[in-house]
């Protein structure tokens, strides 16, 4: 029988958009009707709304998403080594190159902390001996600046990586590809917040000369360290492995200490390494980020897939990448942060949202796993119930969930994972990002923390680009 005729043999079950009285009438007449809480999607952009409509449940997109999402789920990031950036990133061997967080941005447009950090990195590399000299080099184009993400690297806050810096080397053992992240410097005056004074450079030199070789030696003893189990365990211990990494750092240290003690490095080096990690509850963040990058990178580049593979901020714009369109960025000004400030600071002092750390939300943890970390939601005066609600809400904009990461507060439900640009634009529900707040001036540091969202316009632009790609794949018909 014709599908249309078969409608006549089923109970009519209506979804009503618009005049609510039509739904009321159906119910009065004994029928079934669901009233939608409808709003114009895509911020009212009619053309983008039509593009979106054709992508909904499109067989090509569904098939691509299944591949992308399976690759994401199958990724097994393992910490395998510590390497210097110049040795592992081919581009760094050829030119003076400094990497930064977020989508591409010109020097003149950068926020204070990012400029400060780039200057600090140039001095650290010995390319300049003063802030002025370093600034002049960058302005003269003698130092290139590029996004970390263009080199499979991620970095928190300013996300600065220069050739001499050590990187965590993470390999996705499923597909063999690599992801990298710099080392966490701790809190206070640190390069990632744009500080570039002597104590910052001194710490960086110590990390390069002593901490990196020590950890490298320990990892040789330890062998590949699977990161997903540590993250999963930390989610059961109050972390969401973005803004709270206390448990994960402890778990990492537990694995590292025996290896450090047996790695043959001088005892005082080992001692200082342990003390450094011990004193920094965020030490694991950079490993969490690289693991997340490895997972989402596995899903990148599947034509017609609407899965978000990167969310990153440069202190001005928020950029996303979508699997189907590979490395193409879709950017929009970052949304304000709803947060709490340290004494003496307010929203007026804050720079716009900054850092590659939203890769954690991209991979289904951080803000998406807020139910496991009620303390985080308190940044905006929320309750544990709000945290739970947030994690549930994210389920409505993702392709699925990741059984590797479960949330006790949701009865061990898996975290929402694989943001679908179609669902974001159609529902108006934005991905939640847990974030630190940097002072807008270089070097002041962190001044608060809170919750923000990825801005809608980038998702809308991505919808339009994906629709074009799918149209071409369909044979170019209008």
């Amino acid at each position: 029988m014709n599908i249309r005729t078969s409608l006549f043999e089923q109970p009519l079950d209506v979804i009503n958009l618009g005049l609510a009285s039509f739904a009321d009438n159906l119910v009065l007449a004994g029928g079934a009707a669901t009233q939608l809480d409808w709003q114009p999607p895509a911020l009212g952009d009619v053309a983008a709304g039509l593009d979106l409509a054709w992508l909904i449940n499109h067989p090509r997109v569904e098939a691509a998403n299944q591949i992308a999402f399976e690759r994401y789920l199958a990724a097994q990031p393992a910490l395998i080594d510590v390497q210097f950036a110049r040795d592992t990133l081919p581009a760094m061997a050829q030119r003076k190159l400094i990497l930064h967080a977020g989508p591409p941005i010109a020097w003149a447009d950068m926020c204070g902390p990012m400029q400060g950090a780039i200057v600090g990195a140039a001095i650290f590399e010995g390319w300049a001996d003063s802030v002025e000299a370093a600034t002049a080099l960058v302005e003269a184009g003698q130092i290139d600046v590029e996004p970390c993400h263009h080199h499979n690297v991620v970095g928190p806050m300013a996300g600065i990586v220069s050739p001499s810096m050590p990187l965590w080397v993470i390999q996705n053992t499923t597909n063999g590809s690599f992801a990298y992240c710099n080392f966490n410097e701790g809190l206070g005056k640190v390069l990632r917040f744009g500080a570039n004074g002597p104590e910052v450079l001194e710490r960086l030199h110590w990390m390069t000369q002593e901490l990196a070789p020590t950890l490298q030696a320990a990892l040789k003893v330890l062998g590949p360290l699977e990161l997903k189990p540590i993250m999963a365990q930390a989610l059961h211990m109050g972390d969401e492995v973005h803004n709270r990494n206390a448990a994960a750092t402890g778990l990492l240290l537990k694995r590292l200490v025996p290896a450090l003690l047996r790695c043959g490095q001088p005892a005082d080096h080992v001692q200082r390494a342990i003390e450094f990690i011990y004193s920094n509850d965020h030490f694991f963040l950079n490993l969490s980020m690289a693991a997340c990058k490895a997972m989402t990178d596995a899903a990148s580049g599947v034509p017609c897939s609407s899965m978000v593979t990167v969310m990153a901020r440069n202190g001005v714009n928020f950029g996303i990448q979508v699997s189907g369109t590979g490395k193409r960025w879709y950017q929009a000004p970052a949304n304000p942060i709803n947060g709490l400030y340290f004494p003496g600071y307010s929203a007026a002092d804050a720079t716009a949202d900054l850092g590659d750390s939203a890769i954690t939300e991209t991979a289904g943890v951080g803000g998406f796993a807020m139910a496991s970390s009620p303390a985080i939601v308190k940044f905006v005066g929320g309750t544990p119930a709000d945290a739970t609600q947030n994690s549930r809400r994210m389920q409505s904009i993702t392709l699925g969930s990741n059984p590797a990461f479960t949330l006790p507060a949701l009865d061990f439900a898996p975290t929402a994972a694989g943001v679908d640009i179609r669902k974001v634009v159609d529902s108006g529900t934005l991905p939640i990002i847990n974030t630190g707040i940097a002072h807008k001036l270089a070097g002041v540091g962190q001044i608060g923390a809170g919750i923000t969202t990825a801005p809608m316009p980038g998702f809308i632009e991505a919808i339009r680009a994906l629709a074009e790609q799918v149209r071409l794949a369909d044979g170019g018909a209008a």
């Binding site: 409608l7 006549f8 939608l36 004494p343 739970t388």
Partner: protein, 528 residues
């Protein structure tokens, strides 16, 4: 301005909780700066920088409350902070975790897999996208919304054809599927007659009349007003016809539309001939000979369409259209018109239903009355001023130009009733012709205000005779408004209520003919 501190020894609290308390007390009046922190060296340094330096010594496990402001405010802040430290947050509980109502089709379907039809009445700019989504999700669609371009309508309907889904609309006002009313629809008995119609009130009239004749409807499918346009080619009507042809519960099929483009009509009629069951076709205003085909019964009015369909369902011969007035009706009308002044000559039609206006124009024209209208049929003229009638005038008050920024007259008859009052008080008016549409979606008591309008007109007219009022009520006994009750009240107010729109138009024409005859007789008398 003072700085005050309070220290709680060995009282560890999460820094986030403390920042919340800081934020709360900072917001108090006359507090310049406030902070609640654990006494770590970093935090103490920050207190110094913030101008809240603590002279008392404190360690990392000690909790410091520091405030700067007026003395009284500082005390208040310290007390509030101490209370906040002691109080446990209100428990959220499971009950506070609820999923919000879905705001998009895909989500709604994910939560509710049985959904099989999307009823869309959002603004036209967005409605097309929602229809496409619904089709992508495998749902059938009724698009009540209008203002969708023909190009987009064509794409939607072509896609629906590929997906083998029904699309009713855009601009589809009514449908009945599986006995359920969609949009404006009447409570019609279920039965074996299936209807596909391009005109909303046309479908309502046919289905109501079928109900009044004691039969019922299997399905009533709308196509929207533009479906039979050349550019669209009747895709929805073809799909509906095909679905009804295959539906075992449908024994007779009815097609109702304004006359389609020639090619479209040929295609649809060819398909109708192959339906394998009787098909009744009424293309309003079309030459019956152009429609007639073997296997197709041509009907002449909306009401006649219902009568023919019911007869065919009962395996009876199709009745002829009632062309002459019954003696009883003629007597009734003549009595009502007896006291009219001779100069009252005009038919004034004031309609809520667009198809009723269209049909009434056709029938009045056939009786010899060329009229003006905002939606003129062939041979009639475009109204010069849509707010002012001259000569025979029939207006569709549901047309865009009257409904911009206000509800349709079927929902809110205020504007329509004002127009009726204006026609009643015009000395040229012989007869006011109107429709009352009942059913889901229509006004709860459409007659109530109208009766007030009539009594007001009577007061204004004083002793002089008012024009004759002729109406028909499109609805069924089971409609929420109760058709019999509406008719009774209209009759009590002196309105002549016909069985159907065609009859009402015929009655109005009769009154106008009588008046014309009276004037001719008067002229002849004067000449003598």
């Amino acid at each position: 301005m003072q700085i005050k501190h309070q220290i709680f020894r060995n009282r560890y609290q999460d820094s986030v909780s403390l920042m919340q308390i800081s934020a709360r007390i900072s917001a108090l009046a006359d507090i310049a700066q406030a902070s609640v922190v654990m006494g770590t060296p970093t935090n103490q340094a920050q207190l110094v920088e913030a101008g809240l330096a603590c002279s008392e010594s404190a360690g990392p496990n000690d909790l410091i409350i520091a405030v700067r402001g007026s003395a009284a405010a500082c005390d208040e802040a310290l007390a509030l902070a101490a209370t906040a430290l002691d109080s446990k947050p209100a428990s959220g509980g499971e009950s506070s975790v609820v999923e919000a109502a879905p705001n998009n089709l895909a989500r709604a379907q994910a939560l509710h897999a049985e959904a099989n039809l999307a009823l869309i009445s959002v603004p036209g700019d967005y409605a097309a996208a929602e229809a496409i989504k619904a089709l992508r999700l495998g749902m059938h669609v009724m698009l009540f919304s209008d203002n969708i371009s023909l190009a987009l309508e064509k794409r939607i309907k072509t896609f629906a054809q590929q997906q083998k889904r029904l699309v009713m609309g855009p601009d589809c006002g009514t449908a009945i599927i599986n006995g359920m009313p969609l949009g404006f629809a009447n409570v019609v008995k279920r039965g074996a007659i299936g209807v596909v119609g391009a005109s909303g009130t046309g479908v309502q009239e046919v289905t109501c009349r079928i109900d009044q004749l004691g039969s019922g409807i299997s399905q009533a499918l709308g196509t929207g007003g533009h479906d039979l346009h050349d550019d669209i080619g009747g895709l929805s009507m073809q799909a509906g016809l095909e679905a009804l042809a295959e539906d075992p519960a449908t024994q007779v099929i009815v097609l109702v539309s304004k006359p389609p483009a020639r090619e479209v009509a040929d295609r649809i009629l060819a398909q109708a001939q192959k339906a394998g069951k009787p098909v009744v076709v009424h293309f309003l205003g079309a030459d019956p000979a152009s429609v007639a085909r073997p296997g197709i019964t041509v009907a002449h009015t909306l009401a006649h369409t219902a009568e023919v369909a019911v007869a065919l369902e009962r395996a009876q011969a199709a009745p002829a259209v009632a062309s002459a007035l019954s003696a009883q009706d003629a007597q009734l009308l003549n009595a009502a018109a007896a006291s009219l002044a001779a100069q009252r000559s005009d038919i004034r039609g004031v309609f809520a239903g667009g198809t009723f206006c269209f049909e009434a124009q056709l029938l009045c024209q056939r009786a010899g009355f060329v009229a003006a209208s905002n939606t003129p049929v062939k041979g009639n003229s475009m109204i010069a001023d849509r707010w002012q009638s001259h000569g025979h005038t029939l207006v569709d008050m549901g047309d865009d130009e009257y409904t911009r920024g206000r509800p349709h007259p079927m929902i809110d008859p205020t504007l329509r009733n004002q127009r009726i009052l204006a026609e009643l008080t015009d000395p040229a008016t012989a007869v006011v012709l109107f429709d009352v549409v009942l059913g889901y979606g229509a006004a709860a008591d459409p007659v109530a205000e109208l009766l007030e309008v009539c009594s007001k007109a009577r007061q204004q007219a004083a002793a002089a005779a008012l024009p004759v009022l002729v109406a028909h009520v499109c609805g069924t006994a089971a409609d929420p408004q109760d058709r019999a009750r509406q008719i009774t009240r209209l009759r009590q107010a002196g309105v002549l209520v016909a069985d159907c729109n065609a009859q009402a138009a015929q009655w109005a024409s009769h009154v106008a003919l009588q008046q014309a005859a009276r004037r001719t007789a008067g002229v002849a008398g004067a000449a003598q």
